[in-house]
């Protein structure tokens, strides 16, 4: 709880720091704030403290997810130092809004009550609507925020309607009670309750961009400022899945048959649509957006094969995925600058010729996303497969395997570009800090792949 408060306080402080327009202090302050929050939240480990009439339970699950999100956010802020130094105004707001979004994410990881979930989602989303439109003059940024906002609130209405229906049926917002209420039907729920639950699930599914509710994500990812995209692709997805898992784990498991089938359909669709759309993608940000949808599919796989270790696998997967994605966006930013604002895959050409080390680490990161050993990405997928196969979901696992192959195709397509000669090489400058961070991330991905402190299941 204290962590949450501290985070909010820091958000407000940074907001005020915006008045003294001195950008240099912003990032350090923000990062210190995050680190402090990190320490505080770790101190709550094993306390399992409850707040607001148990509407909010901060247990190890939420703490671990919070910590992972904090780490990723710290990374993003560190990258932000370089990213924002050409932006004159409203830098403070950027940091502040991200921090606020993070508070929302915290709520989403620790709710035990649908109201909290709703609040969390909204507190997460509203700052993102603004962040997506961060470049006020840019049409694309504008369009991104616009679409995100409209679709987001549209989805929210359904989510709320669902909550209302469930409340109407069960007369409570508390997940455990809802669980008990559902349990008494032995899987044969009344339509109203069923629809209500469906709407709730869809509301969350929209946030994590599961097909067929993924349409917003490629556009928003492409249009939003790259750093925000990175934030959305990683922290928001992590938060979304934390919420999703908590929702299922606390409230809905064992899922009624139809709902479970629905979710499986969503999983399969995400894997398929994401991969196929990414296959011929030429814009890197869109490519990552679609690949994000695919990873969503894998996370769903992990989540739906209900096993005690699902949470651990989910955490591992999301964290590893974020750890690989963020630096890729950063490399992309540099290539984009070098190629004067292009976003095509071809801008990566000649990377190997100019910055071989960058190319090597890009290889590691892409391998991790593609799920090739010995990177953490492989281990993540491996553990997901172990879950799904050990729970006997063979068909979908085989399907996922095939999909993984397609994934490898486009990741290595990018890699091929990076390792082939560029016809018009523009000087590529990567500032020390970012280079160091990329290297750290790459190494981390490798080490997480090799030294994982638990057996795979």
């Amino acid at each position: 709880m204290s962590a949450l408060i501290l985070l909010t306080v820091f958000g407000i402080i940074i907001l005020y720091l915006g008045f003294v327009n001195n950008k240099t202090i912003l990032a350090p302050v923000a990062i210190t704030g995050l680190v402090a929050t990190l320490i505080l939240s770790v101190k709550d480990w094993n306390l399992g403290s409850k707040y607001f009439h148990d509407m909010m339970i901060i247990d190890n699950f939420s703490i671990s997810f919070n910590v992972s999100m904090l780490i990723i956010t710290i990374l993003i802020f560190l990258f932000g130092i370089n990213y924002y130094d050409r932006m004159e105004h409203h830098v403070a707001e950027q940091y502040a809004l991200m921090i606020f979004a993070l508070t929302g994410a915290f709520l989403m990881t620790s709710f035990s009550n649908l109201i909290m979930l709703f609040l969390g989602i909204e507190i997460l989303s509203i700052p993102l609507y603004i962040l997506a439109g961060g470049k006020k003059s840019s049409f694309r940024s504008n369009e991104a925020s616009f679409k995100y906002f409209l679709l987001g609130s549209f989805a929210t209405t359904f989510f709320l309607f669902g909550i209302a229906l469930v409340y109407g049926a069960s007369a409570t917002f508390y997940l455990p009670e809802i669980k008990n209420y559902i349990a008494q039907f032995h899987g044969h729920l009344p339509p109203m309750l069923m629809v209500g639950l469906l709407f709730i699930l869809i509301g969350v599914a929209f946030k994590v961009a599961v097909a067929p509710f993924h349409f917003w994500s490629p556009d928003v990812y492409e249009g939003a400022p790259t750093l925000v995209t990175a934030f959305m692709a990683t922290v928001v997805k992590t938060a979304g899945f934390a919420a999703f898992y908590r929702l299922l784990g606390m409230g809905l498991l064992p899922l009624p048959g139809p709902l479970e089938k629905t979710l499986w359909v969503m999983t399969g669709l995400s894997l398929l649509v994401g991969n196929l759309a990414a296959l011929r993608q030429t814009n890197f940000k869109r490519l990552l957006a679609y690949s994000a949808i695919v990873h969503t599919g894998f996370m769903m796989l992990a989540m739906l094969s209900q096993h005690d270790s699902s949470a651990a696998v989910l955490l591992y997967y999301t964290f590893v995925y974020s750890l690989a994605t963020v630096p890729l966006f950063i490399i992309f930013i540099h290539m984009k600058r070098a190629s004067l604002g292009l976003e095509e895959l071809s801008i990566f050409r000649g990377l190997y010729r100019q910055k071989p080390w960058m190319a090597v680490f890009m290889t590691i990161l892409l391998m991790s996303l593609a799920g090739l050993p010995p990177t953490a990405g492989f281990l993540a997928k491996y553990r997901v497969f172990i879950l799904s196969i050990s729970q006997g979901y063979l068909a979908i696992s085989i399907f996922a395997v095939i999909m993984a192959v397609i994934g490898i195709y486009y990741y290595f397509y990018v890699l091929r570009e990076a390792f082939s000669e560029s016809n018009s090489p523009t000087p590529l400058v990567i500032n020390k800090l970012n280079a160091a961070l990329i290297i750290v991330c790459g190494t981390a991905v490798l080490l997480l792949g090799i030294f994982v402190w638990s057996v795979p299941i």
Partner: protein, 633 residues
């Protein structure tokens, strides 16, 4: 190491010397001066000859039948144990004598013959390698060692046929020979494998000792013998795999003498004679051998009638003589076959070397229509050639008479029809040999340009030695009929179990001999009248000849048929597989999968229209579908 025969431990030297020669001449071929290589090679082969002689006499004196010399354990896998061992018994000692004896003569001859060739050192290296492989073949103590030599000689003949590698036709001939041999070898190796499965061993001694227990006509034995026969047919140029031998004449003449007359081509006969115990158990196979042998003998002889290249004539006569040996094998008269093999080695080597000396004299000319009247010019060659011709025609008391007569009588015992056919073949042989003789040595010289001269002594001496052998070689095996002890067969009969039972009574035999002699005389007379009196010269290539004649002159178009039936379809198939199946079906399928997926990808991308209304619709549609879904399910 079982050393039952004195000096058996020296046996490994016999192949070792030629191998040594090969290594020295091969590695130092750029340093050796003009004749060194030849001399070295010849001495080494002669040394192995001496050792063979030594072994022969020690063997005779000690009265031992066979001895085995195991060098090391070659292949052992599971229950398969194949040592690298030599076995010396009466059969192999004879073969060793032939190989090293005739071989050393031909080596010596080659010193003169190949004198001017710039790759003479390579030539001797390869000849030595050949001798080595041939010795492996005859000395091997089990079928697999035999097979090493078997393929080794094939490979050497490949090298030597294509010795003058500038000429693509020669290279083609070499390749053809090797591939045809390989076809036979596949059958052979399969036969060996089956032998192993049947007897759990491939060493001669064990196989034969166990084979005694089997009953005659067992299907497995028949199959094995047939497969071995395939190998023999390939190696010994029998129908249907004989077409390579005439083409093999592309090689230098000494090669033809050594490989394609005296030794390599007789490997098949050796192998079958070696496996006589097995073949006696397989009457079906024996009958097949009879048919193959007789057919080859006659067909080749007929083709020989119309050949105008001196070496081609000899080649076809070789094929037909090999046919006779096969006939003998088929009749179960193995020792007769081996005896004919021996005498044939003498006179056919002599014929080839004589031909070589003629070609040498004519400056590389091989067309007998352009020769003639060489009797005066090169008397030694003429005399030796004459003896050889008489020998091959089976005129008593020349060696060919005894060996061939034995086969004929055996044929008669088996079935008079065989006898008649065989005799006909013999008559044809006699005719074309004398045709050759007359055309080359009699009449007047038809090619004015070249000035033929007698060959140097290094070439003539081997001719003389060989002619002596082909004159008196027959006396090794004088049948009881002429008060002989047929010692050769006696010497062999321990090793080879002949199947001949009934002895012909003397009167019939004498009758047969007289009849055949009369016929032979007539044939020689005919040839004389045609080619000396009338001085008929065979038609030029352009001129019209009778259809029958053309068919014969074109070797029954067998080459053409083979290329039409095997080579062309093979090439077509290759193109078809690659251009159609590989590049149009198999490979594209994989690519198509990729292309198809990316097409789908484009479709899915197009869904992302970027228009808000569509997104709203999509979302609502999705929700509604799911509602319906859950309410139905």
């Amino acid at each position: 190491m079982v050393a039952s025969i004195p000096y058996i431990t020296l046996a490994w030297l016999v192949p070792a010397f030629p191998l040594l020669g090969f290594l020295i001449t091969g590695l130092a071929k750029n340093r050796l001066k003009n004749n060194q290589a030849g001399i070295l090679a010849s001495t080494l082969v002669s040394l192995s000859f001496l050792i063979s002689v030594l072994l022969f006499f020690t063997m005779k004196s000690s009265g031992q039948e066979s001895a085995t010399l195991t060098l090391f354990n070659w292949i052992s896998a599971g229950d398969m144990k194949i040592p690298f061992a030599f076995m010396i018994d009466h059969l192999s000692i004879i073969m060793m004598l032939i190989v090293t004896g005739v071989g050393s003569l031909i080596h010596i001859y080659s010193i003169g013959y190949m004198h001017d060739d710039e790759r003479v050192n390579t030539f001797f290296a390869q000849m030595n390698l050949f001798t080595f492989s041939m010795l492996l073949l005859v000395m091997g103590a089990n079928y697999l060692i035999l097979f090493i030599g078997w393929e080794g000689v094939g490979f050497c003949s490949y090298l030597l046929i294509g010795f003058w590698f500038k000429n693509p036709d020669y290279n083609y001939a070499a390749r053809k020979a090797f591939v045809m041999n390989r076809i036979g070898d596949l059958g052979f190796i399969l036969g060996i494998i089956l032998l192993f499965f049947t007897f759990k061993s491939v060493s001669f001694t064990e196989v034969f000792s166990q084979a005694a227990t089997l009953q005659t006509g067992a299907p497995m034995i028949t199959l094995i013998t047939l497969l071995l026969l395939v190998g023999a047919v390939g190696k010994s140029a029998q129908i249907p795999l004989y077409t390579w031998l005439p083409d093999a004449m592309a090689g230098p003449t000494p090669v033809s003498a050594l490989i394609h007359a005296a030794t390599m081509v007789t490997a098949g006969i050796y192998m079958i004679a070696r496996s006589s115990i097995l073949y006696n158990l397989a009457p079906i196979t024996l009958n097949i051998i009879i048919v193959i042998g007789l057919a080859t003998a006659i067909l080749a002889a007929i083709v020989g009638l119309r050949q105008n290249d001196i070496k081609k004539v000899l080649a076809y006569s070789t094929v037909s003589q090999l046919g006779y040996m096969f006939l003998a094998l088929g009749l179960g008269a193995y020792s007769a076959a081996v005896f004919h093999l021996t005498t044939h080695a003498f006179f056919k080597a002599l014929l080839f070397l004589g031909a070589g000396s003629i070609i040498h004299a004519m400056g590389g000319e091989q067309d007998i229509r352009k020769m003639g009247g060489l009797k005066k010019k090169m008397p030694v060659t003429f005399l030796t050639f004459l003896t050889a011709t008489l020998a091959i025609s089976g005129i008593p008391p020349f060696s060919g008479f005894f060996s061939k007569d034995q086969i004929l009588t055996d044929a008669f015992e088996n079935n008079p029809v065989l006898y008649v056919l065989a005799l006909g073949g013999a008559l044809i042989t006699c005719f074309y040999m004398f045709r050759l003789l007359y055309l080359v040595f009699y009449g007047n010289q038809r090619l004015s340009t070249s000035h033929p001269h007698e060959s140097p002594r290094v070439m003539t001496i081997p001719l003389i030695i060989l002619s002596v052998l082909s004159v008196f070689g027959g006396f090794l095996n004088i049948p009881s009929l002429f008060g002989g002890d047929s010692g050769f067969s006696e010497f062999l009969h321990k090793t080879i179990i002949s199947k001949i039972t009934a002895e012909l009574d003397n009167t019939t035999e004498i009758g047969l001999i007289i009849a055949s002699l009369i016929l032979l005389g007539l044939v020689i007379l005919l040839a004389y009248r045609t080619y000396v009196k009338k001085a008929v010269v065979p038609a030029k290539d352009g001129e019209k000849i009778s259809v029958f004649g053309r068919i014969i002159a074109n070797k029954f178009y067998l080459d053409e048929i083979y290329s039409a039936v095997f080579e062309k379809p093979f090439g077509f198939l290759s193109d078809f597989f690659y251009n159609q199946i590989e590049t149009k079906i198999l490979d594209p399928i994989i690519d198509e999968i990729g292309i198809l997926t990316s097409r789908l990808g484009d479709l899915v991308r197009k869904l992302q229209q970027g228009i808000m209304s569509f997104y709203f619709f999509a979302m609502v549609a999705g929700i509604l579908l799911f509602i319906i879904f859950i309410l139905i399910v």
